[in-house]
């Protein structure tokens, strides 16, 4: 990778988790997409437990979920970029992100990772990121959020 030229991509899928990391990765990808006119797709996946059918009307009714997508669109607009916001319902977030990136022929998939520790002090990476790292066909970026003050 050249030090003077930022990485380019045609189509990036940005995974929205509904946390403070969303703004950071949407802004990052939007800025990087500008020069090459790359396409940015922000995906928020709502995990549906097996007690409900997959097509249960959950995500569409939730204002909180809509606000996650609206916030991402707002961040992209402030960078003068257009962003396609996608809402999915799935049994597993990691599998849904990989499927979406594959279907869209994305060449980049970006996720944020909050800095969290398990009980006992071990760093917790969750199960979505390992799944995506293992299965996504495209480049994957994981942007870890800063360590909260007092924990560093």
């Amino acid at each position: 990778m050249s030090e003077t030229h930022p990485p380019t991509f045609r189509r990036a899928v940005v995974a929205l988790a509904g946390g403070p990391g969303d703004e950071r990765i949407v802004r990052l990808v939007s800025e990087l997409a500008k020069p090459s006119h790359g396409e940015v797709i922000a995906v928020h996946v709502v995990e549906i437990g097996w007690s409900l059918p997959l097509d249960a009307d959950i995500a569409g009714r939730s204002e909180e979920i809509q606000s996650i997508l609206d916030a991402a669109e707002g961040v992209a607009e402030s960078s003068k970029m257009r962003l396609e916001a996608v809402l999915l319902q799935a049994r597993d977030v990691g599998a849904a992100l990989v499927d979406e990136a594959t279907e869209r022929a994305a060449d980049l998939l970006v996720l944020s990772l909050p800095y969290r520790k398990r009980f006992g002090g071990d760093f917790a990476i969750g199960r979505t990121i390992p799944y995506v790292l293992k299965n996504a066909p495209c480049t994957v970026w994981v942007v870890r959020e800063p360590i909260p003050e007092g924990e560093a």
Binding site: W50, S51, L52, P53, L54, R91, A95
Partner: protein, 228 residues
């Protein structure tokens, strides 16, 4: 159709795979995390890595909306518990259990499992069809299992040989309805004289097995083998 499969061994794995290929919605419960991950890697995110014997996890796996629950673990006790919870707590319409020990079949039926599959019984039945046996052969169970179709292969020494079918003292609720002679099946008429080599097909409650045995096979104690 939404099918909840409990047990991620060979049976559960291939059952789930086939069901998915046939367009059904499937969730598979497997308590061993490593095995659950392995299955998920192979057939997708349909695996719940929890013990299906716990009601809480059955609920999380969607038991309450399942059309069918199939308990196919290697433990009869677990399969029974799973089917009972599915049937009586989650009101699942149809429960299917794998029963490894044929001696447990009656208990499963008695406790309300809708359908039981016993690989051991199937193999046993298949073997018995190919060897001459001096006892009754169970061909199928009907209804809730209280009625059975039974075959008796008449040998030398059978008290039924040389007698008319109508002269045999049949236990109450039990009837002889067909005979297979020289490979040809015919309805059994009361005046038909039974011969060595005949295969007589009877239907009746499992309790009358002993009397049926006495009438068709004989009461040689060595020939009487408890079947259940």
């Amino acid at each position: 159709m939404f099918v909840l499969v409990v047990g991620g061994g060979k049976v559960g794995y291939y059952l789930s795979k086939e069901l998915i290929e046939n367009g059904h919605e499937v969730v598979l419960m497997e308590k061993d995390r490593a095995r659950a991950d392995q299955i998920a890697d192979e057939i997708g995110s349909i695996v719940v890595a929890h013990d299906g014997c716990e009601g809480k996890y059955l609920g999380e796996a969607g038991c309450a909306r399942a059309d069918i629950v199939a308990a196919v673990t290697g433990d009869d006790e677990d399969n029974l518990v799973i089917c009972q919870m599915a049937k009586h707590h989650f009101d699942v319409r149809r429960t299917i259990a794998r029963v490894n020990n044929p001696k447990n079949e009656a208990l499963f039926r008695h406790l309300g499992v809708d359908e039981i599959i016993s690989p051991t019984r199937m193999i046993l039945g298949s073997i018995e069809q190919d060897i001459p046996v001096h006892e009754l052969l169970h061909l199928a169970a009907l209804g809730e299992g209280e009625l059975e179709i039974i075959e008796a292969h008449l040998q030398d020494g059978s008290p039924a040989v040389g007698r008319a079918a109508g002269d045999l003292a049949m236990p109450e609720g039990c009837s002889l309805f067909a005979v297979i002679r020289d490979g040809v099946a015919t309805p059994l008429r009361p005046d038909m004289t039974l011969r060595v080599g005949d295969k007589v097909i009877a239907i009746g409650p499992s309790e009358c097995e002993e009397l049926l045995h006495e009438q068709l096979i004989g009461d040689d104690p060595e020939a009487v083998t408890p079947r259940r």
